[in-house]
């Protein structure tokens, strides 16, 4: 243990604790800007500096471990002056059109300037305007707002191992961006949006569909259906000041109905449907022993990651579409028929915790219905904005139900939103599909939680099925490299089934979540989904009556020809240099 004083208050912390964390023990919040609790600190901004007696200059508290006997001052005149000067220089170089900025009122730089009491900026405005990168269908990058804190690169390179963004040029000309300023849309970017949720300012945000959706809602000739991803119900409350992990399913339905959506349905329904398709696929591959391990395909960030960096895994991928796209394909076929609505009149909107879904819905192959299956994807943040624009406060709304015939869901569908959830849901149903009996203990604990790579072995009537779960690009890469190695040396992998989600924590940690997120919030949202699961009357996908009805009335049976046509897809190799499809 290290004993030292911070502002004359004695603290005792384990060796290696940084001054920033140690100060919290003394109830002092040292202001920070580039620091993010989930990322390795880079020391870029210099805002968190403190004075340590006997050490010349000021030290960055985010990276300096507290030493034995240190006498630290976090708010001495020298420190406070230095912080102000730095932030003033940053402001002088920042596009300060705060009122019209997407981050207005949630910008960390804005907050910091207020905390430090900065009233004027004495420095010359130096910045030249740079073009905004709108090349990506998912993410917009505005370099004029960028403060070069490096968080986006940290998360893109070290957590996701995508390396779409890099620091380019040098010194005052330094910019963060893609090679040759080609833009994110012409890069290996997987659209996961982790850069967006880690950006402290308004330099990264989603390519918004809010205006387009308002237009559809205001068009009397359109029939606008909406689906909401499992994770959204566990995070939308945060947009309205509710604590992370608040489950707002009923209020969410009520809000969407009040916005004018003609049918409020649920992606959880199609999550159950996905399990029917993917579970059946798993059972048949287990029987044949072919193309194992089977790998899940719900996460569009993960799909592009795999297509770009793991070409040899394409045959292992489940051909089942993601719940969003299954929903979309059915909305303009099954639903349209059942409700007697012309499919060309249907506008299919989804609400997702995800930015990659915007890319997924525009993939050219996603037109199984004969139309673009999903027309617009809104992130959780965007729908929050729309609800506020409509003068509604989610907290005050009543709890309502989803509309039929694509609104019912089971506990298995809802846990899709947390890492390990698809795996757990699939196990529940696969067990039934193989044995004809129900799995007794439905809680598959080893695949839950935020541990890096999770493994479990499931006994299905004497057949041992080894499964693994990875969340984040980096962990997926590590897991798949292991699989590659096993296949190269032993001819097969120890795993039969693998779940991958592109974002840390799964969809509850997606690129469409509320600003100011961190792993602790992601964890609480995941827990909320497991509580939702526990409270459902049905917890297995094959018990979803609406799903069973689709098969009876429309698809036949899982993996039928019609299912394949509407609910399954294919993958293409992409260049690991620029992410473009390789035409062979």
């Amino acid at each position: 243990m290290i004993t030292a004083t911070i502002n004359n208050i004695q603290v005792e912390v384990p060796e290696g604790t940084t001054i920033l964390w140690a100060a919290k023990k003394a109830n002092v919040n040292i202001p920070t800007l580039c620091f993010h609790p989930d990322l390795k600190p880079g020391g870029q901004c210099g805002v968190c500096v403190v004075e340590i007696e006997g050490i010349p200059g000021l030290s960055r508290s985010c990276v300096t471990p507290l030493g034995e006997g240190f006498r630290v001052r976090t708010h001495s005149p020298k420190v406070m002056n230095a912080r102000k000067e730095i932030v003033e220089m940053i402001l002088a170089n920042h596009d300060t059109d705060c009122l019209t900025c997407i981050k207005n009122n949630s910008c960390e730089l804005q907050g910091l300037a207020a905390t430090l009491g900065i009233s004027t900026v004495e420095y010359a405005k130096l910045a030249e305007r740079l073009p905004i990168d709108r090349s990506s269908v998912s993410i917009v990058r505005d370099p004029n707002k960028c403060i070069l804190c490096g968080r986006c690169i940290q998360v893109c390179s070290n957590v996701q191992t995508v390396n779409a963004l890099a620091v380019n040029h040098r010194g005052y000309d330094t910019v963060i961006g893609t090679a040759f300023s080609a833009g994110l849309g012409n890069s290996v970017c997987i659209n996961c949006g982790q850069c967006v949720v880690h950006c402290p300012v308004g330099a990264l945000y989603e390519n918004s569909s809010v205006e387009a959706v308002w237009q559809a809602l205001h068009d009397p000739d359109k029939f606008v259906v909406v689906q909401e991803a499992p994770a959204v119900r566990a995070m939308l409350g945060e947009e309205f000041g509710m604590p992370p992990g608040s489950l707002v399913t009923g209020r969410m339905y009520a809000a969407l109905r009040r916005l004018g959506f003609d049918a409020v349905l649920d992606t959880n329904f199609s999550a159950d449907l996905t399990i029917m398709e993917e579970g059946t696929e798993l059972v048949s591959r287990l029987k044949s022993g072919q193309k194992l391990p089977l790998i899940t395909s719900c996460s569009p960030g993960w799909i592009k990651f795999m297509e770009t960096f793991f070409h040899d895994m394409i045959p292992h991928m489940s051909t089942a579409k993601s719940p969003q796209q299954m929903f979309g394909a059915l909305a303009k076929t099954y639903y349209a028929q059942a409700k007697g609505i012309a499919p060309e009149k249907i506008v299919s909107v989804s609400v997702m915790p995800c930015t990659a879904k915007k890319f997924e819905c525009l993939r050219p192959e996603m037109k199984a219905s004969g139309y673009q299956d999903v027309d617009y994807v809104l992130t959780t943040r965007e729908i929050g904005r729309m609800i506020r624009e409509a003068g509604l406060d989610l907290k005050e709304l009543p709890e309502e139900e989803a509309d039929d015939i694509m609104g019912e869901y089971t506990g298995a569908g809802t846990i899709f939103g947390a890492t390990g959830g698809v795996m757990e849901a699939a196990i529940r149903s696969a067990y039934f599909l193989v044995t004809g009996r129900e799995l007794e203990n439905l809680d598959v604990q080893p695949v839950r939680g935020l541990k890096g790579i999770k493994e479990a072995e499931i006994d299905i009537d004497g057949t041992k099925v080894k499964v693994a779960v990875a969340h984040s690009g980096g962990q997926a890469r590590a897991l798949l490299q292991k699989v590659q190695q096993q296949m190269a040396t032993e001819g097969k992998s120890e795993y039969q089934f693998i779940e991958v989600m592109a974002c840390p924590g799964g969809c509850v940690g997606g690129g469409g979540q509320s600003w100011g997120s961190n792993m602790a919030k992601r964890a609480r949202r995941g827990e909320a989904l497991y509580e939702d699961d526990k409270a459902r009357s049905h917890r297995r996908s094959h018990e979803n009556r609406s799903v069973l009805a689709v098969y009876e009335q429309f698809l036949g049976k899982p993996n039928s020809e019609r299912s394949h046509e509407l609910l399954h897809t294919y993958y293409q190799k992409r260049s690991p240099v620029d992410g473009k499809v390789i035409n062979e």
């Binding site: 600190p41 880079g42 020391g43 870029q44 901004c45 210099g46 500096v49 200059g57 000021l58 960055r60 990276v63 471990p65 020298k78 002056n81 230095a82 000067e85 730095i86 220089m89 940053i90 002088a92 170089n93 004495e122 420095y123 010359a124 130096l126 403060i147 070069l148 620091v167 040029h169 040098r170 010194g171 005052y172 000309d173 330094t174």
Partner: protein
Amino acid sequence: MSLVRNHVLLSIDAGTVMAGARAVEKALVEEIAKQGLTDEIAVLETGSVGTVGQGVVMVVYPEGVYYSNVTPEDVPELVEEHLLKGRPLKRLMLAETPKQAVITKEKAGLLKEQPRIVLRNCGVIDPEKIDEYIAEEGYMAIGNALTSMKPEDVLEEVKRSGLVGRGGASFPTAMKWEFARRAPGDIKYLICNADEGEPGTFKDRLILEGDPHKLIEGMLLAGYAVGASKGFVYIRGEYALSIERLEKAIAQARDYGLLGVNILESNFSFDIFVMKGAGAYVCGEETALIESLEGKRGHPRIKPPFPANAGLWGKPTVVNNVETLANVSEIIRNGADWFRGYGTEKCPGTKVYTIIGNVATPGLIEAEMGTTLRDIIYEYAGGIQGGKKFKGALIGGAAGAFLGPDMLDVQMDFVNLKEYAAVLGSGAILVMDEGADVVDLLQSVLHFFKHESCGHCAPCRLGTAQLVKLIDRIAVSKGSREDLNKLLRISDVMRDTSFCPLGQSPYLPISSSIKYFGDEIGARIR
């Protein structure tokens, strides 16, 4: 060497080569052959003889006559007059033989008491011939060390010598080695920092061009003391001749079994690899250099961990400057006590300076630690050009400090200069005569920092840009008193909060220029 009557030592360095040294060499050899003197006169290539800007320079031994600005057209006359008839050609003789150019070489019969440790062989031996280095007792120190000294003994000897880093930071060399030696791990690395980028500094370049084997031997000894088996020389990409000579020297050393496995039949294995830098001043900072060696952008790393514990590829690593390592073989061969005979009690040894600006003979000199600035300028560099008045000097490159006219008698060493809020830094001395413009100089320095800031941290990236904005305004007499205050204020904050020494540096030239030349700068204020 003893059979020939005269030796002509032709200085081959980047400066003389550009002035046509190769053409002169060719003409010389041909003319000597034409006169039938081939057996009597030996033409030898050597590195820099210490002069700069004097065109093609050669020295004829045993007389020790210096010729400068020699052209191929001069050669027939020179050969006939001096080498055939024995009459030195006055017309081409260097007007005033600069002190630093006098070569201390007993064999040449030219013994002059000069403190030459680092540059002992520069300009004396042919740097492209390992045998000539060996003839000067080269590789004797590593031979002794491997046969009769433990690595700890080498470390102890260097510790006793009081050698501190010559790159600018003046950190005790042996202590650096000891940290890395004690750090756990089997694989350790030694890096020689030859990415000389401090404006006005070219000493490492001339050491590398003039005596590359001395660096190799120093690296061998350091590697032995630290427990490293691999050494890297990170060298400026622009130093084409240095790279060529060093690579040649490494190849020769490998041939002689002085690099590679089980050197001199000991258990010690060590090899050296040359890595070309790509032009970034910040790579002089050791962690940025390590990043660059790993193939990345040269951004400084967070410390701790320090390189001694986790450096190149996360392994314990020592980074030493060229000049520092060039001292080591002399210390081991002659002993720490001998080394301490030079310089001052607190700061033993010598320092190699590059002296430029308004002096009569700019160039490379080696002087004892503690030599006064006056001696360096007036004794070694021939005084101020054109007999003008000394106005001041910028010591230590861009990251250094200005000294005013009343500072001529300051003793130049790491410890003493600190008392005057100045630094020795890399050893660059830019001398100003009364006509020099301090604002111009400061403007150049601040532009340099802006251009070389790596951009990683906000205080340096934004601060250097603001400083340039301010000095540009002041330079055209459009600045205000407030602008001048801002220069100080920003650079002060930068000194306290920048991530690495680059951003911490502008304060010194700014504050010292205002201290000594405040009136002159003030006169430019609107």
